[in-house]
Amino acid sequence: MTLVSAERPLVPRNNLRDLLGATIVLLVGVGCYFVFPDNLAFLTMLLSTALLVMSLDLVTGVGGVATLGHAFIYGAGAYAAGIASVNGVSDPLVLLLIGAAAGTVAGVVSGALILKGHGLSQLVISIALVQLASEGVNKASSITGGSDGLSGLTIGPLFGAFEFDLWGRTAFWLALAIVIVVAIILRRVIRSPFGMICRGIHRDRIRVRAMGATIFLPLLKMYAIAGFVAGLGGALQAVATQVVGLDSISFTTSAEALVMLIFGGTGSVFGALVGTFVFMWFEHVVSAASPFHWLILVGILLIGVVLFAPKGLYGLVAGLLDRRGA
């Protein structure tokens, strides 16, 4: 808190970090493209999950809302895009916008409900919401495909020129571009006065209230932004894989997103990216060998992160860098 007065000289450094971070993400992305050309579908999936985790970071890491039901929003985006596509919309960008819009609505709805509770009841409302949605989607199988999932999406070429090919090149580049743009915008949102209020609510809501600010509205607004991002992620997944499954709107996906966020570190966009990247690579490699070994490994890592690195991987690295810089 004493650092607030020193905020001004930090601004150019923040811009530098934005640029540096974006460049690193771009380089890693390009590197992965050339090193793992056969895994592009997986990498695209990873990028779309990164959008979900970044969105979760906005409400959990920045706003301090405990939720285990964030996939409700992701799934809303995925199913909105999927249903629109089955009903004749084929332009990928329009589909992404539809998904993001649906995500925004879902974000506002879940925010309005979840923010009514606090602590434990917040968690339970969020879980109940995603479970309810999942059962609802399963039941409405004539529209959503039920437990078989929604398939038969037809996606037109991007900008009318780039086909979504069998190797997933177009989808990968599209996903990478979206993730980088969203990451930079979100970093600015978090730094803005509005983001500051949300962080303040997270730290000490009584003081924020004493300052004369409301608690509910900023967080709801944050939920709307988070909804846009997660909906975009869901739609991206639908466009890239051309199927939408029930797992996109499940408790498991919500919990996994939270785990990834904590691995990377809450409260910073790059933390969310690092967490998603590391977690999903590990999962990709280890769980293929044995699902139970994978569970033990993740469990131990989780306990270790809580005990020894409460700020996550990115927090650990950023802490070291800051110490050197100071």
Partner: protein, 289 residues
């Protein structure tokens, strides 16, 4: 009418199983302020031990139940000392993550040792008979389960409200420092109550195995259900947990009888409704924010 009575009696049994497993969690969450998502994992440990004891060691059912409860408690105490103790008083998020981690490790280790198959716990002859309830016949095992649930409720109430241990526990919860200065060894009290909570979980897991089968992902499957039940009832309240289990057990059973294709839809709709109307749970104390 007969249908309604059938639903009601099934719902009652189901609610009692839920209650037996979740009351320990309610205790831990209300008294020790810890969101323990690994609670179901301890029920699973109990089930695995009981299955191993009856199937491989040919122990009688009653003895296997005792061994399972003691075994789960033995595993729980060092975990409480080493891991849980560090997250008392931290945010819900930290507790959720730590206990999800513990759950993952327990699932992984249990299945590594005992193999990833469905575990059955064969019932003794007396529990396999049918009992005539007047309007229907029911497996005597289900009646036994309902009685166990009621016994747990009464026993636990007695321990907390009427024994010296209960007084010390409530004192330690109310104000740990003052309780300690009065000579109460609070860390021992917390360890004991944690062991009690896990013991109850294991007990519920074993006797409820016919209704909630012991499978490799048991701990994850019922994790949400247990948390929901405790929150709806109000953490820390035995009566609240009992009411919540009976209400939610009824909603779930009713929906499964009448509208099976909707799955758990109405269950979760009821949960959201109740939590919105009673944010501290049906019988919960007003939480300090």
């Amino acid at each position: 009418m007969i249908l309604f009575l059938n639903i009601l009696s099934d719902a009652f049994v189901y609610g009692m199983v839920l209650f037996t497993i979740s009351v320990g969690l309610s205790l831990a969450m209300g008294l020790m302020k810890i969101v323990n998502l690994a609670h179901g994992a301890f029920a699973m440990i109990g089930g695995y031990i009981a299955s191993f004891m009856t199937q491989e060691q040919a122990l009688p059912y009653a003895l296997a139940v005792v061994v399972a409860v003691l075994g789960a408690m033995l595993i729980a105490v060092p975990l409480e000392r080493l891991l849980y103790r560090r997250i008392y008083g931290t945010s819900e998020l930290t507790q959720v993550l730590m206990t999800i981690g513990i759950t993952f490790v327990i699932i992984g280790v249990a299945n590594y040792i005992f193999g990833p198959t469905l575990k059955t716990i064969p019932l003794p002859e007396t529990l396999r008979r049918n009992v005539d309830l007047g309007f229907r016949t029911m497996a005597s095992h289900r009646v036994f389960v309902a009685f166990c649930g009621a016994a747990v409720a009464v026993g636990l109430w007695y321990v907390i409200e009427r024994t010296a241990f209960g007084v010390k526990l409530r004192a330690a919860v109310e104000n740990e420092k003052i309780a300690a200065s009065l000579g109460i060894r609070t860390s021992v009290i917390f360890s004991l109550s944690f062991a009690l909570a896990t013991g109850l979980a294991a007990f519920g897991g074993v006797i409820g195995a016919e209704l909630l089968p012991i499978e490799p992902y048991y701990a994850l499957t019922y994790m949400v259900m247990l948390l929901v039940v405790v929150c709806v009832g109000g953490a820390g309240s035995i009566g609240g947990a009992l009411t919540a289990c009976l209400i939610l057990g009824f909603v779930d059973t009713l929906a499964r009888y009448l509208l099976p294709s909707y799955g758990a839809f109405f269950f979760y709709a009821a949960v959201i409704l109740i939590v919105l109307v009673f944010p501290n749970g049906l019988f919960g104390r007003k939480a300090s924010q």
